[in-house]
């Protein structure tokens, strides 16, 4: 991309270049380059070669799984029904995708329009996280073609998984609608965009409800297995709250992590508004994450106290539990406090990565490592690990494909003739209390 930037090329960010005809879909798909130019830059990018190697090994393995069954590629067994696909792909990806509803709530419900530069990134992060959690699920299910059964064929409404299924399905729909605004701008379909803007509040509120319930429901799934999950990770009364509350720092920190990666590797795609506001917003997100983390720490301790599990802390499992809490909750709290106090954005970014690691470790511990603690330890099959890496790579590729094109990191410039002031006002939203134009650095209201 750098070579083209030097030559004066700018990625497509409007319906038409100044004084030129409207761009076709084909032009937009290749960011205003010719297909040949686009291909040449893709080939020059070493990261694409890494992806190609992963796919070359992983995709045949995925096909192999569907031809020869789960037994051929995983260590999933009668004792360990859920392996890496679910513990990583579903249980760890979903809390990191809480970002969509968090930022949606901040902006749309509480009117914090100063968060708008990262709102769309957070929404896309949510959508893709959920979508790929479902992809992981499809690979793991014995009969994935029957996924719609709980919606249409046979109902088990008293099951927690029934809730998870329904809520993930409806929430995916909600998130597709929320992210579709960017797509409609890109496609130049203002009528559709207007329709979505009209139901934004409804969508956001349903997003909060569905997220509350199914983030919690994923935790509640483990209350079915009281004797199997180690007591330190199990809490009959609070399991769902532990999962819900840890998803809050998880989602917010994922936005910090992704925005950092984007800033470092895709600066050409970010507009002035995004770049100028990112440091300030990173600190603001870290404040939210800190509040989530401290709450999480307290309710985890209450969980231990409630079931009187202190004795377990002195065992080997206790050390592992303390490691998880120390590296994923306590240390981030200290580092965030320093980062926020001294405006050290770099430290905050590192801490966000640590927090994400902590949340992932918690989910892996709950679903895989501390599960069946009385039996034996399951080590995932190498093919299972490879397939997981492949699916995660597919997630990254999809993520990048969308960020390159849709107005997520930048604002779509609408033509004056086509864009009445009202529509523009909706996207930019200068408020009376914050009359500064988009792109200017907002100051925190408090």
């Amino acid at each position: 991309m750098k070579q083209f930037l030097v030559k004066g090329w700018r990625p497509v960010d409007a319906e038409a270049k100044e004084g030129q005809e409207t761009l076709t879909l084909w032009n937009k798909l290749w960011l205003g380059l010719t297909f040949r130019q686009y291909l040449s830059q893709a080939v020059r990018n070493p990261f694409n070669w890494v992806i190609a190697i992963i796919f070359a090994i992983g995709i045949p393995l995925v096909l192999y799984r569907f031809v020869f069954g789960l037994g051929a590629v995983t260590h999933s067994s009668n004792d360990y029904p859920w392996g890496l696909f679910l513990s990583f792909g579903l249980f760890a990806m979903v809390p990191l995708s809480a970002s969509g509803f968090m930022l949606g709530t901040a902006v749309e419900i509480f009117g914090r329009h100063d968060f708008e530069p990262v709102e769309r990134l957070a929404m896309l992060n949510g959508l893709l996280g959920y979508f790929f959690a479902v992809v992981f699920l499809l690979v793991d299910l014995g009969q994935p073609w029957r996924l719609p059964y709980p919606m249409a064929v046979a109902f088990g409404p008293a099951a927690v998984l029934f809730l998870v299924g329904w809520h993930v399905a409806t929430y995916l729909t909600v998130q597709v609608a929320e992210v579709s605004v960017s797509f409609f701008e890109w496609m130049n379909w203002p009528v559709c965009k207007k329709f979505i803007r009209r139901i934004t509040i409804g969508l956001t509120v349903s997003g909060i409800i569905l997220s509350t319930l199914h983030q919690g429901a994923l935790g509640a799934l483990f209350t079915y297995a009281p004797g199997k999950l180690h007591p330190l990770w199990y809490s009959a009364s609070f399991q769902w709250l532990h999962f819900l509350v840890s998803a809050i720092p998880g989602g917010l920190c994922m936005v910090i992590v992704v925005s950092t990666i984007v800033k470092k590797t895709m600066a050409w795609r970010c507009d002035e508004r995004f770049m100028a506001n990112l440091d300030r917003l990173t600190i603001a997100l870290a404040k939210g994450a800190s509040m989530g983390l401290i709450t999480y720490l307290v309710i985890k301790l209450i969980g231990v106290a409630h079931d009187n599990e202190w004795i377990y802390l002195s065992t080997g499992w206790g050390s592992w539990y303390l490691f998880e809490m120390g590296i994923g909750v306590v240390l981030p709290l200290i580092l965030f406090a320093r980062g926020i106090r001294y405006n050290k954005v770099g430290l905050i970014r590192f801490t966000a990565l640590l927090t994400v690691f902590g949340v992932v470790l918690n989910r892996l511990n709950t679903a895989l490592i501390a599960f069946n603690w009385k039996l034996y330890q399951d080590i995932p099959h190498w093919k299972e690990i490879t397939i997981s890496i492949t699916l995660f790579t597919l997630y990254i590729v999809t993520y990048r494909f969308i960020l390159y094109r849709l107005p997520i990191l930048f604002e779509w410039k609408t033509q004056p003739a086509e864009a009445p002031e009202a529509v523009r006002a909706k996207t930019v939203c200068p408020t009376q209390s914050n009359p500064s134009p988009a792109g200017a650095v907002y100051r925190s209201r408090d």
Binding site: P157, L163, V174, Y224, Y376, Q432, S433
Partner: protein, 313 residues
Amino acid sequence: MSKISRRRFLAASVAGGAAITLAPTKKALAATFEGYSEGMGVLVDLTRCVGCRSCEAACNKEQKLPTPDLPFDDPAVFDQTFHGGTQKRRTTEKAYTVVNRYEPKDGSQPVYRKIQCNHCNEPACLTSCFVNAYTKTREGAVVYNSKVCVGCRNCMVACPFNVPAYSYSSAFNPMIKKCIFCHETRLKQGLPPACVAGCPQEALTFGHRNSLIKIARERMRHQPGRYIDHIYGEKEVGGTAWIYLSAVPFEEVGFDTTLQKEPILSNVKDFLSTVPMVLAIWPALFSGFHLLAKHKENHAGDDHQNIDEEAHK
């Protein structure tokens, strides 16, 4: 700021609300279900079992399972261990029941224990299934419908006895494989399951669960000191159709004695009961927050002074 009119706001709220109500209502089940009164069961007397594995052979034949690697009269299976010697044999897709040998701590005679589905009164597998593939029949069996099973394997996670097995080797029609109390072929006709019929030692007694508990108590009373004072399965996880008597502590012969007395479902009820509350309260709560935040914005620039002045007008 996007100006959303009151009407639009209400319309959006209704649309959002309608989307929520389209989801079926989730309700927690009523008080603990203690099993059908006419439900059948089996009393397993561990003191009578000699480890002949006739029950395994009978089950294999009745359920048309594949021939095992070692024949049913080969005692070598008792020495098999798995996962670094930590695990004994368990139920699999090829064996719905297995007998394991245990050496009691006091050095007395080895004890043999039969494992199969215990057919809980309120089965965790059933309550965790999101397509209702499981049924607790009036006869007491927990049966499974592979036609609707999606293969999520939540039932295997939920089962406190680690009984259900999955045919992982099948790519196109994998399913749960477990003991079904010979429901279709025998139990419905009032016949005992094949394993009970095949037991030469009368270690297995078939009958109404309620009367089996009485029989177990009788045996304990008639032969004081022979059994430890516990009927395993009478109370565990809400009660099971298969109940056990033993001369040695149950934890020494592979039973999980830390299980709760309430059905597994009772752990989940707390969460299930919050669901309708969240569905009911959140819409107004967060729409209310939105209105509050909007109001502040509309009066942005006003300070308390102005509002006070307006109030005095």
